[in-house]
Assembly symmetry: C2
């Protein structure tokens, strides 16, 4: 603790919230840039996303240290305690979101060396936009302390799953039709999965906002991704030449 | 708080640690069973893993509520506070580990309908055993409060990555050689990725144990999975008939 000025309790709490908001802004930008780096095959942008990820790790660590210090020295209760614990939770989700964005850009770097696969990267871009918007909405809900808006994100989780499932089918059809695309398609498959996971983190963030504001349960029963039935439909299509019924 | 007996502070803290240990035991069993369900194509076992996952969610929620209550009412400091915060962190990692085991078993159910792919499921089993052992070791370190043992798990993260990368190549070779296996192989690919993630959670748990015991940094600089160079090696092999240099 080598601080020159002594901060008040309220200041410390506000500072914590401000760092979370800043981390949110950075994570949002990282996800948007990661998707752009895939869509435009932009090697420089992909590299920038990979490098910038360390910033989110630092902020995560900073939030965790400040929150633990606050709990230990200020012993917050009620809504102040919820605010502090929520900051720790949100930092975890935002840090993981950043990791996933970085992984997408790492794969974008690899794909940039190969043939462009336009229809597929456009589908990734579409799914990416959807996930980006969810993340933006839930972070808006955080800064506005708007529990209804957060719950709006929470309840619209299905859309991402639908996109993921249709992208999964599309990729399989592509691989079956042209085995030379298999390695590239597996990278796209993991990108789609990473985007789906970013959507899950947006859902987690919505739950944390709900807890912070209402004090209600932090862990809800929410729909989770399941490989059936659409994956098993796909499993039935094991003839690469059979046309797909979408 | 509808408790009939009033617990002491020490009791509450011990209870929290006991629930974490129990959750660890369950998560360890879920991972081992998930791998077994793949290896033996055991539909009943796979279903059991999927159903039992709710138990881990309940324990996670239980730990979180108890920890928050403890922080709010008992205002722990120093090592007691670390113990409480660690319990919350560990519960998150164990709950996610359970989710990943459940996902593996969901995919095992789908694969059980198709052709057996023995060499591949054996590779999954081998990687699974390695990851299981890491999880067991780190949970042993937790119950024994053995920071050296936890750090042993932390530093051996590379092994899992090596297994994952070699399994990834094996799966690609298989898909390229016989496009009819593509859908099944993508399920195996995600299983391998899920196992790799379980390995990451074991690493997180090691970090949390280190923090709990020493008070040192919770977030370390550790090697993270990266798709290069082995994935890009694989990318170069886009001719399905070209023999693979392993």
């Amino acid at each position: 603790m080598n601080q020159h000025t002594v901060k008040s309790y309220g200041d410390e709490l506000n500072q914590l919230t401000a760092i979370v908001a800043r981390m949110g802004g950075l994570a949002e930008a990282q996800v948007a840039d990661a998707i752009e780096s895939v869509a435009r095959r932009d090697v420089a942008l992909a590299r920038a996303v990979v490098e910038r990820d360390a910033r989110l790790d630092t902020l995560h660590s900073d939030i965790e240290k400040k929150a633990i210090r606050l709990i230990a020295l200020r012993q917050p209760v009620a809504s102040d305690l919820r605010k502090t614990l929520s900051a720790m939770k949100l930092a975890v989700d935002l840090e993981r979101t950043g990791d996933l964005a970085r992984n997408i850009s790492k794969r974008a770097l690899i794909l940039a060396d190969g043939e462009p696969m336009l229809p597929l990267t456009r589908s990734i871009e579409r799914m990416g936009k959807l996930v980006s918007n969810r993340l933006r909405d839930v972070l808006d809900a955080y800064t506005a302390s708007d529990v209804d808006r957060a719950m709006g994100v929470w309840t619209s989780d299905d859309e991402v799953d639908e996109h993921y499932n249709s992208l999964f089918r599309e990729l399989l059809t592509y691989m079956m039709g042209d085995p030379r695309t298999i390695t590239a398609c597996t990278h796209l498959l993991f990108m789609a999965k990473n985007l789906e996971r970013i959507g899950d983190h947006a859902t987690n963030i919505a739950e944390t906002i709900h807890y912070e504001i209402t004090g209600g349960d932090m862990i809800g029963e929410r729909p989770r991704w399941t490989p059936t039935p659409s994956d098993s439909d796909v499993m039935a299509v094991d003839d690469p030449l059979r046309p797909q019924e979408s």
